[in-house]
Structures are given as structure tokens and as C-alpha cells.
Amino acid sequence: MYFKVNKDLLFEKLQLVASILPQRTTLLVLGNIKITVEKKTVCLSATDLDISLDTTFQTEVIEEGSITVPGRRFLETVRDLPPCEIEIKVIDDFVELRYDRGVYKMPAIPIDEYPEIPEISGKNHFPFPSNLLKNSVLKTAFAASKEPGRRALSGIHWHIFNNESIMVTTDGRKLAFYKCLIKKEETIKVNIPPKALRTLIGYIGDEEFDIDIKYDETKIGFYLKDTTIIARLIEEVFPDYKQVIPKDNKKVLEISREELLNALKRVSIYADSTSHLVSIDIEPKTLRVYTETELGSGEEHLQCTFNEKSITVNFNASYLSEILRNLDEEIVAFYINTPKTAVILTHKKKKKEELIYLLMPIITS
């Protein structure tokens, strides 16, 4: 195997592939990136056994072949090179990286020790607009559970039917729901690892095009021009989220998102570091955000509109801020029932999309 490549192109591709490399692994070879060279094309691949990614680029190929090299070391070496032309070559058990002023050698592992990258079986596939997918993931991925014990909640639940695409995530404390209209008729209901979708939207950037999506019973694949991401679906069934979205939250608070966010940021400096508890007293025209702990106390008064007399609700300031940051209109609305039941947070309804967050208040006794 022997090819020449421009540093910037190689670095861009390596960065993408390396994002899939597992943080910790007992299988040494999973820390490696696989390089396959055929005709004029170089293909880089990585997998953490749940998600695999491969990406290709055209370049000057001198000799075909394939090998695996330590992924992060490869990336770090290329990252710090000046703009240049790089030659990559296999010499015995090493991969040699050479440019006009230096040479690096990395121990290689042959590809037969590398796990097989899975293929999607069957013919199910449909196109999906990249901008809609990106929005859906950006608005929901943060609320997925990070607890190892709750696998069903660790994924992004994606349900498409009747020209609607719905993405939902929850960790039991908060829930994110994003719905948008799509032109194509398609039905799919899957639970996808967030890392796969995060990597995907990170790569597509602001470009607008249709992503070809293939799926079978256990996997889903996203096919772009030069890059493929295949993810193993989470088998555990996502809970019935519809039953926890309240329908009788009649008390409506409207407030400036920016002002509330800034107040929370300051007040929460004084909040308990474990619970992040802040209280919000809501009156028809004003609202008070406050907390008091051994660290001191803080309070801020803001203007708002509220359609009821008064209520006090306690929130985890960091969850609330996270949600407020993900809403994007200037005015946000809280739909409240009681201080002990889930509160809906949303902004003005848009034509083709619906965004709802649910947050469980903190109950004090």
C-alpha cells in the first residue's frame, strides 16, 4: 500500500473517522483506523462495534493494499504538520508517514484482525432532507440518558409516519420532542445511539441535500456521497412517551428566554452543588428566581405574563438552562399544572415543526 495525499484533506477525513474510535477498549485493534486503497480511492474506516463509519477520497495511488494503524496517534501526527504533501506507505510491519521534512513510523495490525464492518440487509431505504435531520438531532440529542443502567432511554427515538418525523429523547428527568413535516410517505420506528447521529450532523454541516437512509431490523445506515455511517439499533423498547406529556397544564407563563437564562446563570452560583435547586415564584406580572444555601443567597426579579394568581415551582437550574438554550424564539412559554407535575416548555408554534420540552420539577418537603 502506497499513496500520496494533501495534508488538509487527510486531516479532515481522519478527524471524522477518529470520532468513532471508542474511548476505552479491551480490543486493541478497535483503537486503529483501517485504510483500504483501491484504484484511485482511499477508504478510511473505524468502528466501536455499535457504530461504524467509512469515508473515501480520491488521490494519487501508487500501490493498492490495506492495513490498520493506531487511530489517535495517526490523527495527532497529521494534525500538527504544516500544509504539505504526505506519502503513506506500508513497510514490513509499519506504516510510514513521510513529508518533505520528516518521517514517522507507526506499528500496524493486518486487516484480518479487524472486525467486519456490517452491511444493511434488505431493500428498505428512503431519502431524508439533511437540514431536517440536523435540526431534529440538535434539538433532542442532549436529553438522552447517559446512565449505563437505562439502555432503553440512552437512544434517540425516531418515528416517521403519515408524513411526520418525530424525534424523542428522555432521561427520566427531562424529555425532548421534535416533530417536523416531510414530503415522503415512510414508516419507521427505531431507537438510535446518539453518537451515530451526532457524528453525522457534525459532518454534514450546513449543506442541504437528501441523505439516503437504509435500515433493517437491527441496523440503520446513513449514506452520503463519500461517507457511510452504520449504527446498531438499540434493542430495548423506548417507553411510551405520549402518556407522560401532560394535556391539562393550563397555567401559562410567558417570559423572555434570554433574561431568564441570564438570571438563572447568576442565581445558580449560590445553588446547592448536588441538586442545583432554584425556586421560581411566579406572579401575574413578575417572576422571582431565587435560591438560598450555605453558599449564600441570590435572587432576581423579571417581568413576565402569567394567566393565574401565583405559584412556586422548583427546578434543577442546569436542566432548565439546558432546555432554554435549545429553544430558539425570544419568548418562551411554560405550561404548568402543579409544582409536583411535569412542566411543558415550548416556544411559539412554527408552521412545519413542533418543539416541546418536558421538565420534572424538584419537589421539596
Binding site: 417507553p239 441538586s275 434543577n316 419537589i363
Partner: protein, 401 residues
């Protein structure tokens, strides 16, 4: 006005209580032991047993070799707690500032009581008389301008003694006193200080406070003050207790166990106890830690943070089981299991969107009420039924506070 703090330490407390409860033990060497049979260790021994070299913490087997005619008595925490509470009540006659430090120790700030009782000596004599008369227990009293020096003083004259260390005594005492004798400096810290050539109180005082602070943070600054014989911490009456940082229980088995099912049941039993204690003080925690000690004394502990604040024993168990499965070596003999819950909060709860938390609360409160009235584990999970669980569990715990 300078503070006057007393540290009162009951002498051979468990053994004295046993001798008082059973007069035939009076004047004889008594060993109070924990654990089952001869696998346990000495918890306390009476002063009659001490000349033979019987000390707290040594294995019972060894203790009986040293003093073959000693009478072995199993620990009975509820008895000691009962007596302890009554003794603490005596202290409250002399000052409201009583900090119960353990079942047999307390700090008293008597600065404000001097006008009422004329002198410190008078207070000390009266307290000693009261305890001796009512419970047959003697105590050592230490007096100082703060808790640190009072505690040091009480260890100087044992049993039934009295000693004082005032600030002016510190300079000529501190060169002789090893850091390990200061309350709050355990074996780990002693070793770590040793690496800096700090072995005595004087070394601690002479070490640059910034070096200590750099190495140990806030503790470092406190250590420096300790070296100077200073301790600004107040005597905190029990109703001002700082909230606990974690709560846990552990058990050493009568015989080593490798059967996973049995270990699971023990885990549940311990978890239920922790849950019950948390609920008593209206606390919840969001980190569960499991400790396992194998028969060769290798000990492993692992913790995991969860999103929810829990105080339900079964939830603690489920989380603990997952942690335990991640590291427990199958077929290996286990000697001790420990469960603890940390990152505690008081009086707050963040319910899960997908659970009916009010139902859980009602259930737990109903079960607690029954167990309050008819005794612990009157109502329990079916997994805890059966005789052999009682065989494994042998009085290893302090009573629920």
C-alpha cells in the same frame, strides 16, 4: 473570655455496661467481641483484661490466647445506646452545648456554665459522680480551650482521671506528641505527612501553611492550626449536627460465602437498612457504592452516580446489584459486603417522568409505619424470607439512629 471545653470519654464503656448489667462479671476480665464465634475482633475489654495485652481491634482468638480466663460477651448495641443516651442527658444538666461524638464520648462547652456551678472542677466532679452512681461507669475527662486539646487531655489520665492542656502548655508538649495522636489524623494521613518529614505536632506547626494548603487544600490549613493547638470548631449540640455525607452498612459473614444468591439477599438486606435510615432523616442520595472483601482480605469498592435521588431500599439494591455484577468474581469466597449511598440531599426529590412516585412514597411510608410499630423487617420483601438469612446476619450493625 476564653472557651472552656471538656471532652468526656467513658472508660471501657461496652465492658462496663455489661458488668453493670450482669453483676457476676464485675471485677473479672470481660471481652466484648464483634462477629461470630472466634472470627470476630475485640470491640472493648474491661480494665481487668488489659494487663494481659488485650486491646481493641485484635482478633478474638488471639485475645483469648493472651487471657484464657476472660469472659467473652457478644456486642449488644441497643444496650449501649440506651445507657449512652441516659448519660448524655446528665451532661445536659450542666450545659446545653453538648456534642455527642460517639456512643461513649462527648464534648461539652461549659464556658457559660461557670457562674452557675462556681468552677470547672466542681462541674467535673459532679458529672463523674452522677455517672458512677447511676451507671457504674467511670470516665476520663480532658479540659482545654478547644475540642482538639480537650480530647488530647482526656487520653492522658485513664481510667477515671482528669487532665488539662491549656494553650500555654502546647509549646513544650508539641515536640513529644505524634501527629497520629491528634483527633482527625488517621493512619493514611499520618503516612502521607511522614513523607514530608512531619511526625510530631511541632513539625506540623512549623511547616509552612501554604505548603500544607497546596498539598491538602482546606484540610492543610486546618492541619497547620492543629499543629499550633488551635481548633476554632464549635461544640455542636446534636440539633445542629451537620448533615451526613453518606450512609452505609456492611456485614462480615459468619463463614465465607460464594453463592451469588446468598450474596444478593445480603445486599438487599443491607440496602433496605440503608434506605430505612435515609428515610428516617428525610434524606436521599444519588450515588450508590458497593464494597466487597474476599476471604483473602482483598477489598474492592465501586460506586456509580445515578440521576435520581433515592431512599428506597429496593432501588438501592437494584443499582447496587448492577455495580456488583460489574466486578464480582464468580465462585470466589466473599467475607464482607458493604453498601453505601452518598451525594445526599435533604428534603428534596426529583421524580422520574415514567414512575408514579406518589404511589411509591405511600407504600414506603406504610411499610415504615408497620416496621416502626412491630419491629424492623416485620414487613419485608419475599427474597428476605427464610431462616438461613438470619443465620448469616448476626447482629453486626449499630442500631438505627
Amino acid at each position: 473570655m476564653k472557651r472552656i471545653v471538656l471532652h468526656i470519654d467513658m472508660n471501657a464503656f461496652f465492658a462496663s455496661v455489661e458488668q453493670q448489667a450482669n453483676p457476676t462479671l464485675k471485677g473479672k476480665p470481660v471481652i466484648v467481641g464483634t462477629g461470630i464465634g472466634l472470627r470476630g475482633v475485640v470491640s472493648t475489654s474491661s480494665y481487668e483484661a488489659r494487663p494481659y495485652g488485650v486491646k481493641s481491634g485484635i482478633p478474638l482468638r488471639e485475645a483469648l490466647k493472651l487471657c484464657p480466663h476472660a469472659i467473652l460477651v457478644p456486642v449488644d448495641p441497643s444496650k449501649y445506646e440506651f445507657v449512652s443516651k441516659k448519660i448524655m442527658n446528665i451532661f445536659f444538666k450542666y450545659t446545653p452545648l453538648v456534642e455527642v461524638f460517639s456512643v461513649d464520648e462527648a464534648y461539652l462547652d461549659v464556658t457559660g456554665s461557670l457562674r452557675l456551678f462556681s468552677s470547672v472542677d466542681n462541674i467535673i466532679t459532679k458529672i463523674k459522680e452522677d455517672i458512677k452512681r447511676e451507671f457504674g461507669v467511670t470516665c476520663s475527662v480532658g479540659m482545654g480551650p478547644n475540642k482538639l486539646l480537650a480530647k488530647l487531655a482526656s487520653s492522658l489520665d485513664k481510667p477515671d482521671g482528669f487532665a488539662r492542656i491549656m494553650e500555654e502548655d502546647v509549646p513544650h508538649l508539641s515536640a513529644k506528641l505524634e501527629v497520629s495522636e491528634l483527633c482527625g489524623i488517621g493512619p493514611g494521613l499520618t503516612k502521607s505527612l511522614g513523607k514530608f518529614n512531619i511526625t510530631t505536632m511541632k513539625d506540623l506547626a512549623e511547616c509552612d501553611v501554604e505548603i500544607l494548603a497546596d498539598r491538602y487544600g482546606i484540610i492543610g490549613r486546618k492541619l497547620h492550626l492543629m499543629g499550633l493547638g488551635k481548633d476554632p470548631s464549635p461544640v455542636l449540640p446534636y440539633f445542629h449536627y451537620e448533615d451526613a455525607k453518606s450512609m452505609g452498612h456492611s456485614i462480615t459473614f459468619g463463614e465465607d460465602i460464594s453463592d451469588l444468591m446468598k450474596i444478593k439477599r445480603i445486599l438487599l438486606w443491607l440496602s433496605e437498612r440503608v434506605g430505612r435510615r435515609l428515610r428516617k432523616v428525610k434524606m436521599r442520595g444519588k450515588k450508590v457504592t458497593i464494597g466487597i472483601r474476599y476471604s483473602d482480605f482483598t477489598t474492592i469498592s465501586k460506586g456509580r452516580s445515578i440521576l435520581q435521588y433515592i431512599n428506597d431500599g429496593y432501588q438501592i439494591y437494584k443499582c447496587g446489584l448492577e455495580i456488583m455484577r460489574s466486578f464480582l468474581e464468580p465462585e470466589r469466597d466473599v467475607r464482607l459486603v458493604a453498601v453505601s449511598v452518598s451525594r445526599l440531599v435533604k428534603g428534596i426529590y426529583e421524580p422520574d417522568l415514567f414512575e408514579d412516585f406518589e404511589k411509591r412514597e405511600r407504600l414506603l411510608s406504610a411499610v415504615d409505619k408497620i416496621n416502626d410499630r412491630f419491629g424492623e423487617f416485620t414487613v419485608k420483601r419475599a427474597l428476605l424470607l427464610g431462616k438461613h438469612i438470619r443465620k448469616i446476619i448476626f447482629n453486626p450493625l449499630r442500631p438505627v439512629k
